[in-house]
């Protein structure tokens, strides 16, 4: 029979929310590191490297995160590695975030005028020095708003980790709904909790975006 919905259920969901935040942070951190590498490949001097990175990014962006997640989960399983759901979800989300962030950042790097690169190279800076001292500091400014915006994507995507049994917010809500049968209430609260995390990020991203446009003339 259906249990009544109690305060304990909300506590359980808040625990889930904590894991959602942890998984998001993990995915964003790992994905960010990988994305930086992929971005470097995407702007490589060598055509073949650029093209290779482009194809890999296109492939990842052409597959649902859920399918990536299943492939990682079952894929690691067949090599006899018993992966905890958190690890499977973390790896899948890292792959997914890396592909999208790399493209966002590449766009920002390419938005810095080419002449800046030329000027740096004419001062005898190496490609790497020019990139780290001249191009990236300028690209960083451009990249902040869309990167913060993408964090919202990451947080929302962690809900998919529920399908491999990782008890984050969505899974917690499902479990509670299975016993209380109050879907509007349970998923409503879960939605509100997601909103409480995502909306400030969205708003911050918009503020940053506006500042960027004011700062330019």
């Amino acid at each position: 029979m259906a249990q009544p919905f109690t305060l304990a259920h909300i506590g359980y969901m808040l625990d889930g929310l904590l894991w959602t935040v942890i998984l998001s942070a993990l995915a964003f951190a790992l994905g960010g590191v990988a994305a930086f590498g992929v971005m470097l490949l995407r702007i490589s001097r060598f055509r073949a490297v650029r093209l290779g990175a482009f194809v890999v990014v296109q492939i990842i962006q052409g597959i649902p995160l859920l399918v990536i997640l299943f492939a990682v989960y079952f894929g690691l399983g067949i090599f006899g590695i018993q992966v905890p759901p958190l690890a499977a979800a973390g790896i899948a989300m890292m792959i997914y975030s890396a592909a999208f962030l790399a493209e966002i950042w590449r766009g920002c790097v390419e938005a810095v005028p080419r002449t800046q690169f030329e000027a740096a190279e004419c001062l005898a800076l190496t490609r790497w020095e020019a990139l780290t001292k001249v191009i990236l500091p300028q690209a960083l400014r451009l990249a902040t708003p869309p990167t913060v915006g993408f964090m919202v994507q990451v947080v929302k995507s962690t809900s998919l980790a529920s399908v491999v049994g990782f008890v984050e917010l969505t899974r917690a809500a499902q479990i509670i709904n299975n016993s209380t049968f109050q879907p509007f209430l349970v998923f409503g609260i879960a939605g509100a909790l997601y909103f409480a995390v995502c909306w400030p990020l969205s708003a911050w991203s918009r503020v940053l975006e506006r500042k960027l446009h004011v700062g330019r003339h």
């Binding site: 962006q61 299943f70 879907p183 998923f187 409503g188 939605g191």
Partner: protein, 227 residues
């Protein structure tokens, strides 16, 4: 330990996977058309001078954009069921998708409409065009052309997101894949194959949207520039 790949076990399930892919495309087509229509209305509502309407549309867009699709799907499917409305999973899934993608559409289309130069409105006004005429010819149509790439990218993401509806047992591609892998115990192979099918679907959609863009936007086709 060495794993022996066996894709052979999947051969007999090929027709089912293909059916699943067709269901995915069907859902995508319905949600794209309905989402565009509904989203455009929301965008217009958002720009309305009626503050209540504008606020309502804004709240809807923000709610959808800041919560996961999976939660929206559960809310609609299980919620309606608990209220006594037992919808077929396909219908519930499509409703959730339209609800979701319309919000993104609204945001994109609104940005396109906001980019209309003021002078164009004044010019249209001074030519004696009515407000609906101005909206259609001067604001909306150029806006759609302007944001077409962003819109189509969003619809491709939505096609990929249909996979999430497998969680309420819709028999689209991922749902079928789940059945196949539990029958064959070839989970990894199944999802590799399914990943490839999704890739093909993505490419097909990209091509279709590109061709559609050429057909729709004469100016872009002839000049190759964006508005």
């Amino acid at each position: 330990m060495k794993y022996k790949f066996d894709f052979g076990a999947l051969v007999e399930y090929w027709p089912q996977l293909l059916d699943g892919a067709l269901v995915t495309l069907e859902m995508t087509a319905i949600s794209t058309v309905s989402g565009l229509a509904f989203g455009t209305l929301v965008a217009i509502g958002r720009r309305s001078h009626n503050r209540a309407l504008s606020r309502l549309c804004g709240a809807y867009v923000e709610t959808v954009r800041n919560t996961p699709f999976l939660i929206q799907l559960f809310f609609i499917y299980f919620g309606l069921a608990s209220a006594g409305l037992r919808l077929p999973v396909f219908v519930a899934a499509v409703i959730a998708m339209v609800f979701n993608v319309a919000a993104y559409t609204a945001e994109i289309v609104r940005a396109g409409m906001d980019a209309t130069p003021r002078g164009q409105l004044e010019a249209a006004d001074s030519l004696g065009m009515s407000t609906p005429q101005i909206y259609w010819h001067i604001v909306l149509r150029p806006a759609l052309e302007r944001v077409y790439p962003a819109l189509t990218a969003q619809y491709i993401l939505m096609m990929l997101a249909t996979s999430v509806t497998s969680q309420i047992s819709v028999e689209e591609l991922t749902g079928i894949a789940n059945n196949v892998q539990s029958n064959t115990f070839r989970s990894f192979e199944t999802f590799i194959v399914v990943a490839v099918i999704y890739l093909v679907l993505t490419l097909i959609l990209k091509l279709a949207f590109w061709l559609l863009g050429l057909a729709l936007f004469t100016r872009r086709r002839r000049l190759g520039t964006s508005l």
